[in-house]
């Protein structure tokens, strides 16, 4: 059979970023700092959509179990760690980030990096899903660290004032919780400074994402999923800014010189949801060989909102209540339709992640609606981001190939 690839076997179909070394170094330093913070009694585990600027302003270091889940997935030990949690009685239906995290607390010696360092506090915000609370409660039972929940009820449309003041009261509660747990006074000035640092990193990141409107796109999906690590873990710190300055410079350089993330871009697609970490390179690079790029995705764009000026707690409450996982389906559909238009995309792939009901819910309607509004075709593929037992490569391949046959 003639290979579908249009490149010779020796020539790579995708281009590695020069800043990947800086990324590795930045994240290694971050991991070391979480170990140190844990020893000093100043480590909190934090959910990905948490208003992290507040604990950072208390000099508390944040570690992200979801990011750890991505490492577990990439290291292909999802089934093993999820299995440890299942032995404790957790259901296979539970999010695989939660299962692998709980599994790693149970058996750190068999986990990548021997698990995340022991936390002194568990900070959950349910603006991404309700699972996080039960998950952190389970970890709390195992580690003794107290949980604080920033409750952000789902929003439909504009945020009413009672919603805003409710969320703000939860942030005030958080401040009290952190003052007591870490024995430190709240410093509003410091929080404002941290928020400014956070905004600066978010702006750099957003500019890099927006540069992908260029043809060929300077970043493919896997590039963005890996490079988003500092915007999740180091928001509000100078390290994040330093990394994204270098990152944006490389992206702009690629744009200026017309250097694409993939060698021969023919088809531009949108990606929705977390990626299958255990096969992320294989998936996107195999498609890159066929000339398929993903200049935009719904996931990495979730960290692109600036904290507005104004009363700081209110501003934080606004930004974090309005992440689109916390809003109705229409907000996400609107976002994806505008990405398709703005980035000139010809089709879309919705990854239905078995673990993440919140993100995957409504994809059938979403698919119909996006095609109706934009006229471009899409497919739904099924699987999981960490638990490779729930992913069937041949079935995924057939669906994506059929989509490409519809486009070309």
């Amino acid at each position: 059979m003639a290979p579908d690839a249009t490149t010779t076997p020796k020539e790579k179909a995708y281009r590695k970023l020069n800043t990947s070394k800086l990324l590795r170094d930045t994240m290694t330093l971050h991991i070391l700092s979480t170990k140190q913070a844990s020893q000093q009694g100043r480590l909190a585990w934090v959910t990905s959509g948490f208003p992290v600027e507040i604990p950072v302003a208390f000099d508390v270091t944040a570690a992200y179990p979801e990011q750890y889940g991505a490492i577990v997935g990439s290291e292909k030990c999802g089934p093993l760690l999820c299995g440890f949690a299942e032995e404790l009685g957790f259901s296979q239906e539970l999010c695989s980030y939660a299962r692998s995290s709980i599994g790693s607390v149970k058996n750190p010696q068999q986990s990548p990096l021997t698990g995340l360092p022991t936390p002194q506090a568990l900070l959950a915000c349910n603006n991404i899903c309700g699972t996080v609370l039960s998950w952190y409660e389970a970890v709390s039972e195992m580690t003794g660290a107290p949980v604080y929940l920033v409750d952000m009820p789902p929003l439909e449309g504009d945020q009413p004032s009672h919603h805003l003041s409710y969320v703000k009261s939860k942030l005030e509660g958080l401040i009290e919780f952190l003052s007591q747990t870490f024995n430190q006074d709240y410093d509003e000035e410091k929080l404002i400074q941290v928020a400014e640092l956070s905004n600066e990193a978010v702006s750099l990141w957003t500019r890099a994402l927006e540069a992908c409107r260029h043809k060929p796109t300077p970043l493919n999906c896997a590039d963005r999923f890996l490079s988003m690590a500092p915007i999740v873990a180091l928001r509000g710190t100078q390290q994040a800014i330093s990394f994204y300055q270098a990152f944006l410079a490389e992206v702009q350089d690629r744009v200026k010189n017309n250097v694409g993330a993939i060698v021969d871009e023919k088809v531009r697609l949108l990606w929705d949801n977390i990626p299958p970490w255990f096969t992320i390179y294989n998936f996107f690079n195999t498609l890159a060989k066929k000339g398929v790029s993903f200049p935009a995705d719904s996931y990495t764009h979730a960290w692109s909102a600036n904290i507005p000026r104004g009363e700081i707690l209110e501003s934080i409450a606004k930004v974090y209540s309005n992440v689109y996982l916390n809003k109705g389906l229409t907000a996400k559909i609107d976002k994806m339709c505008s990405l398709i238009k703005d980035y000139d995309l010809e089709g879309f792939v919705l990854f239905s992640v078995r673990s993440c009901k919140r993100y995957s819910l409504g994809q059938m309607v979403t698919k119909e609606e996006i095609t109706r509004r934009t006229g471009v075709p899409g497919v739904i593929i099924e699987g999981d981001m960490v638990d490779s037992q729930q992913y069937n490569e041949a079935q995924v391949e057939t669906r994506v190939e059929a989509l490409l046959e519809m486009i070309v």
Binding site: M1, N392, T398, A402, M406
Partner: protein, 262 residues
């Protein structure tokens, strides 16, 4: 640009059967062959090609082959592999250009494809995760009822009061059927219930892409009159079935191969 060929071969390597079609330049079927895929897809591909050669009495070594189906990558001499979604659309469009929705029920999967006026797929839904709504479902039920798979369809058409089989899951439906036998319901009523359950599963899959008439049914299960009867009821539309519904995917692949796979 690839040159147009005077002959072409399409080969559909399904999970249950492998089908091959040899076409001439005018898209007439010269000969075709079907066999059980068995344990080795590569062997069944080779066997199909040998049979095409024997019955056509032609040297087919330079004839372009396009493969499709789950084992499409196992056809090592194919110039290209194309998904069954596209091949089925192209195949049924050739047989009846009016068709706008295709329901293909294979041995272990089922698919619904909405087809554009040019014969290309516009949208599709695949069920390849479980045996509900596939030929396998009917095979299991036929075994429990102790009839052959070929008899099951006509048996169901003799039903007086079709049983209610509420589960579309093969494992659960099997116990339900055993239960119905126990309560003395007639084999024909149970067979009708089985087909109704299967038809409702396919109707749900169809609704996901939206059924647009005229509708065609292909795949081995399209030869089952009982299933067609209940499916037509479930989706409330007439169904068009090609004379040899199992060959549609291979036919589409052969048509694409005639154009050099473009």
């Amino acid at each position: 640009m690839a040159t147009k060929s005077t002959l072409s071969i399409g080969i559909d390597v399904g999970s249950t059967t492998t089908k091959a079609v040899l076409l001439d330049a005018k898209r007439n079927v010269v000969t075709q062959y079907l066999l059980a895929t068995g344990a080795s897809a590569q062997k069944s591909v080779q066997k199909c090609l040998d049979e095409l050669r024997k019955s056509s009495q032609q040297d087919l070594t330079v004839v372009p082959v396009i493969s499709t189906g789950y084992g499409r990558r196992q056809a090592l001499n194919a110039i290209k592999s194309v998904t069954e979604i596209t091949c089925h659309s192209v195949g049924v469009h050739h047989l009846n250009p009016e068709i706008r929705t295709l329901i293909d029920i294979g041995g272990q999967d089922s698919k619904v494809i909405r087809i554009g006026t040019d014969g290309r797929p516009l949208d599709f839904e695949l069920n390849d995760k479980c045996s509900a709504g596939t030929g396998r479902f009917l095979e299991v039920m036929a075994r429990v009822l102790e009839v052959s798979i070929n008899e099951l369809g006509s048996l169901s058409l003799k039903a007086k009061r079709p049983s209610t089989i509420s589960s579309t899951c093969t494992v659960f439906a099997e116990s339900e059927v055993i239960g119905r036998i126990g309560t003395g319901e007639s084999p024909s009523d149970i067979a009708a219930g089985v087909h109704k359950a299967m038809a409702s599963k396919i109707a749900t899959l169809s609704q996901r892409v939206g059924v647009k008439s005229p509708v065609s049914v292909t795949g081995g299960v399209a030869l089952n009159p009982g299933f067609l009867y209940y499916l037509a009821q479930a989706i409330q539309t007439e169904l068009w079935v090609p004379r040899e519904p199992q060959y549609t995917g291979a036919l589409g692949a052969a048509i694409l191969a005639l154009g050099g796979g473009e």
